[in-house]
Amino acid sequence: MNFINTIMTEKERLLKALRNEQVGRPPVIAPGGMMTMASKEVMEQTNCRWPAVHRDAGKMATLSISMHHETGIENLGIPFCMTVEAEALGGEVEDGDEVTEPHMVNYPLKSVEDWRFLQELNPDKDGRLPSILACTSLLSKGHPDIPVIGNLVGPLSLATSLIEASLLFKALRREPEEVHRMLGFLTDNSIRYGEALVRNGADLIVISDPSATGEILGPKMFTEFALPYLNQMIHRMHTLSKPVIVHICGNVTPVCESLKKLDAEGISVDSVVNIKEMRKAVPDKKLMGNVSTILLQNGPVDKIQKVSGNLLRSGVDILAPACGLSARTPVRHIRAMTETAKAGIQ
């Protein structure tokens, strides 16, 4: 077991874990994107601070690498928000401050039909996408042994960044066909961006779909409007030989049956989800999660260690914060999680 630990790179460990191969102990990651991988403490150490970092590929890379080195998290993950696709498609973003991540402030679409006015996405040109691609390339070339995660927003969540959520949710029933056309358009564009991430060195893809929760949609709507588009994205990434993890927020119990039909290697879940029960519900998926984001921020250290240890014993395949990191999380709290993972299952 120790032998495996010493010769395996972080990249090998994560990819093997997703391929269902022996890894000795689960990797511990924080994917980036919606599941942010940043801490103010590290921003101050490196002088790579939010919000300036969000539009600077070099600073973004420095912050990501320093996070990896300081916290023991076994991946590199950018960006630090979930707004890059929506911004590139014409949404208005406010960059936030040193602890608040960029967020949408203005929805460009006033009705679902308006998707027709959206321009096709050009990842090499639009919004911050070129910086993210440049940063991905820097990270990948400079650190071949560390997995670089490409982050995508799921089509339904991307839609709720472009149009007010209540309008979209009502349209699911009132004009389902138009919503399908819109989601189809968004999926095609996200795939194009995903392909560009892979070309620039992303080793795997994490799709976060926080608006597509079972709690919001229920099983029927999830199966009709979330599942098929997520699978389209996953299938395309698979043809590029990249594994995919899908993160769904909130309680997923209502949609467990649908999750069986999700073709991703891994499913990442929120802290409300019980890993043992989830394992029974979706036995074939690698499960990632789910140390409470707020526990990581507030501590104490011994509770973080206890929760992390319990998760490892519950059979989690990848240890990770449930919903990424709050920027206020102290480095020693993150280390409490990563060191517990690295000590192996006790």
Binding site: V99, T100, H103, A165, L172, L217, G218, M221, G324
Partner: protein, 237 residues
Amino acid sequence: MHREKSDILQNLAQAVIDMDMTRARKTAAEAINAHMDPYEAITDGLARGMDKVNELFETEEYFVPEILLCADAMYAGIEVLKPYLPREAAYHKKKVVIGVVKGDTHDIGKNLVKIMLDNAGFEIHDLGRNVPYAKFIDTAGELNADLVCLSTLMTTTMDGMQVVIEDMKKAGILSRVMVGGGPISPGFAKNIGADGYAKNAAEAVKVARGMFQGIQIPLVIKTPELVSIRKNRGGMQ
């Protein structure tokens, strides 16, 4: 006549449950034509339908898209009945200031709570989303609000709730505070000094009602004007 009235109330409730705006409008017009009390049409018809929707939400038969459409049907019916209502005696209602704290623009949960509280007879002042901390405090102070509802869906903006609560205390504002949203737990709510926590919109109504227990919160207040309308129209019951 009596039979017709109970049918109309039942149809109003059903139109809400069925998310049918057209039927809610049509049935509301029937209620007016049948000289029914417009208040009753709302409280025992439309609002009763919404209570049932609330139950369906709790038992996971309905989810967010359904709730939003049911609320649309309820409001469509209310729009038809409104001109026949005398001016509302708003001063009897508990005032609620609601908003999504700064840094977060997800307002679907907040909108649901707003719909549910409105339906439960609270007077709602919606500040929208991405609301600066000071705006909550200023509005609560100006209105002498009974309750401030803070919502966030993002862990990164949770701390803002505590700032709002502390600043309200410093400013001497006595409004009670209820918090909720995806990442919020009852423990967190307690730690930051909130008076209440609600897991979802259905629970928010229970928590808010609990806070003001013993105080009747009717949807609208019956006033003498209505009695005279009723008498003039005749034919009631």
